[in-house]
């Protein structure tokens, strides 16, 4: 389990990360989100030991992170971090060796991962000869060559087509099922929603939103019900707690005061005929992100 406790990082007088705290349990995927410059990369660098913290502490399985622990960590950086003059096999042996793996372990794991990502034919090819997408696959393989217990994924799907994204997703879920704690960062909120059970949104180093995704969504529930059927606008407006009813081309959009009003509206709709749609609108993570980040920037 990873525990980030009140971590602060200053660059000169600039506070890049401000009192950040979160936990990632074994087998959990945690989303660390934020616009560019929010402090995500600095946080990743502090977790992997690349940067010293100004304040706070980071623990992995109860121990402070140092070079005795980093063999168990995998890191996929946002930008390409490959030695392009080497072959896939050579770079795997280099990075695997740095993670204290034996030759045999590296060969076995490399073959397995190349097979999983359907690129076995590139084993002896130089990195620079590969396409952008295949380089990303190799980069991902290097991040997980050591079967990490903690994996940091910074924009893992960059440069990938939908088919390859599926291959990546399967591997990420496989690691999660094996008990790997994963920190996931992406600007694609649909991917974050797919993977993450909990998340943290950073704005200029400060945590503006943190918690379980389901609870966050409930908290940020849109107060709209969309109905299609033989309902009467005026009757809907008579229900206590209904603020406004808008008639769109096909549907009625019922704006309610809070989620307690939903059963009342539902009871009314049950009495009507030809009901084909009753949707309680859920906010997307993208909307929550824009709301929270925009809110912070507005201040």
């Amino acid at each position: 389990m990873l525990k980030v406790e009140n971590v602060t990082k200053y660059y000169d007088n600039i506070k890049a990360v401000d009192n950040l705290s979160f936990e990632v349990k074994d087998g959990e995927i945690f989303g660390l989100l934020g616009v560019n410059g929010a402090g995500k990369t600095t946080t990743f660098r502090m977790i992997t030991g690349l940067l010293d913290k100004t304040e706070g502490e980071i623990y992995f399985n109860g121990k402070k992170i140092d070079y005795n622990v980093t063999d168990k960590i995998g890191f996929l950086t946002e930008e390409r971090s490959l030695l392009t003059k080497l072959t896939v096999e050579e770079i795997a042996h280099f990075y695997g060796g740095l993670k204290s793996m034996t030759e045999e372990e590296i060969n076995k794991r490399l073959d397995y991962l190349l097979n999983k990502l359907e690129i076995t034919e590139y084993k002896t090819r130089k990195i620079k000869e590969l396409s952008k997408g295949n380089q990303q696959k190799i980069q991902f393989i290097m991040a997980i060559i050591n079967s990490p217990k903690l994996l940091i994924l910074d924009e893992p799907f960059s440069g990938l087509d939908p088919l390859n994204i599926e291959l990546f997703k399967n591997l990420i879920l496989e690691l999660k099922n094996e008990g790997t704690s994963i920190i996931f960062s992406s600007h694609r909120m649909d991917h974050v929603e797919f993977f993450c059970e909990s998340l943290c949104i950073l704005v200029k180093g400060k945590t503006v939103l943190k918690g379980n995704l389901k609870e966050i969504k409930e908290k940020y529930m849109k107060k709209n019900i969309i109905i299609n059927g033989d309902v009467i606008k005026e009757e809907l407006e008579q229900i206590k707690g209904v603020l406004k009813v808008i008639k769109s081309a096909n549907d009625y959009i019922v704006n309610i005061e809070n989620k307690e009003v939903t059963p009342k509206v539902f009871d009314y709709v049950k009495t009507k005929k030809n009901i084909t749609k009753f949707v309680v609108e859920e906010p997307t993570l993208n909307e929550i992100f824009i709301e929270k980040v925009g809110e912070k920037y507005d201040k």
């Binding site: 690349l50 890191f75 971090s81 003059k85 990075y95 060796g97 740095l98």
Partner: protein, 438 residues
Amino acid sequence: MTNKLKLLIKDGLKKKINTKWFKIVNIILLIVIPLIINIDNIIKFFGGDFNEPVNIYVIDNTNEFYNNLSTKYKDMDTLIGSSDIKIQKAKKTKEELTKQIKKEESKDLILEINNDNGIYTASLTSYDYVDSITVTLLTQALNSTKMQLALEESDIDIDELNEINAPIELTRNYLTDELDENYELMSYISGFIIPMFIIPFFLLIIIVTQMIGAEINEEKSSKSMEIIITSVSPKIHFISKIITSNIYAILQSLLFVLYFIIGIFIRGQITGTKITDSFGTELSEMLNTFIKSGMLNEILKCIPWVIIMIILSFIAYSLLAGILASMTTNQEDFQQLQTPLMILIMVGYFIAILASTYEKSTFIIILSVIPFLSSIIAPVLLIIGQIGIMEILIAIFLLLITIYILIKYGSRIYKVGILNYNTNNLWKKMLKSLKTKD
């Protein structure tokens, strides 16, 4: 962590040696170095005008000059190492010889000596220009012969005449007891030794610093540094770069020596000549005198100190190059930043060359103990006997302190530098990093 250090060194060396450029450069060196060692034989093998022996036909109308003249000319010619000129008495008339030379467009010469009422005159006839050495030697031989003839015509007996003609031996007296006249050979020999020592050293230091810079820059610009540093500490990474580059430099030096030995072996096997044969007789004799004088043993005693200085210097320069490279964001920046480093090496190089001219200069002796400059100057001054063990110990001590400081504080700069991709406030960042903990 030791295993990871070994891995980084092994991988770094493998990367360098497996490059096609390393292989190409070494194949070229393997061909070029033996070629240079055998260049005189190669030139002769392909032939040319220089292979034609030149005859000097002497028409001695005095009937007195020829024997003395030919002996003196041959002696002087041997001394300068030329052997393709044959001096002989003309069997044909001047007209016949002139006609023959013209017809053949030959390089042969006609030397005619006359006695006009007690005054000796000589003329040299040639088809083309004559090289100045041949003219000078002939002139000296003629004058010397004239002097000898004059002495012989006087009533001086043969023993007295031999005594007059015998060269004067210059006995050397020194007011300081420990001085040895053989040391004076050093001023001549040093002109030969200094470049032999400095140039390979100079080139290897440049190779090492360039290599460290290129490698650190490659890892920084490819961002692979971020992955490497998550597994090993920046200090271990830094040390691995220093060790790798120095092992590479040693390996390349050994290969240079191997190519040199191959060249000498080829020379011995094919032509049966020594390398010194191409230096000329005078220099060869001087080297022989130098070896016999025991000076070589004195130089051999300096070798351990020179080796220590070389190793420490390579480490110091590598550390400095590594620190500078970590601060830069691309190869162009590093090339600019390494200019002061190159200047340091160049200053050492020129001062070392000037050392034999400005003998025992206090200024040069002080420079010889200053770290980085001492790398080249101190070993050279030690070899040519201008400094002693005390000065070299001071130079080593100061270099060790410098290395300690570079490791202690340089690794802090390195740690910050390798993750810095922005050149804004670079110096401020570096100075600040000095205050951080290891």
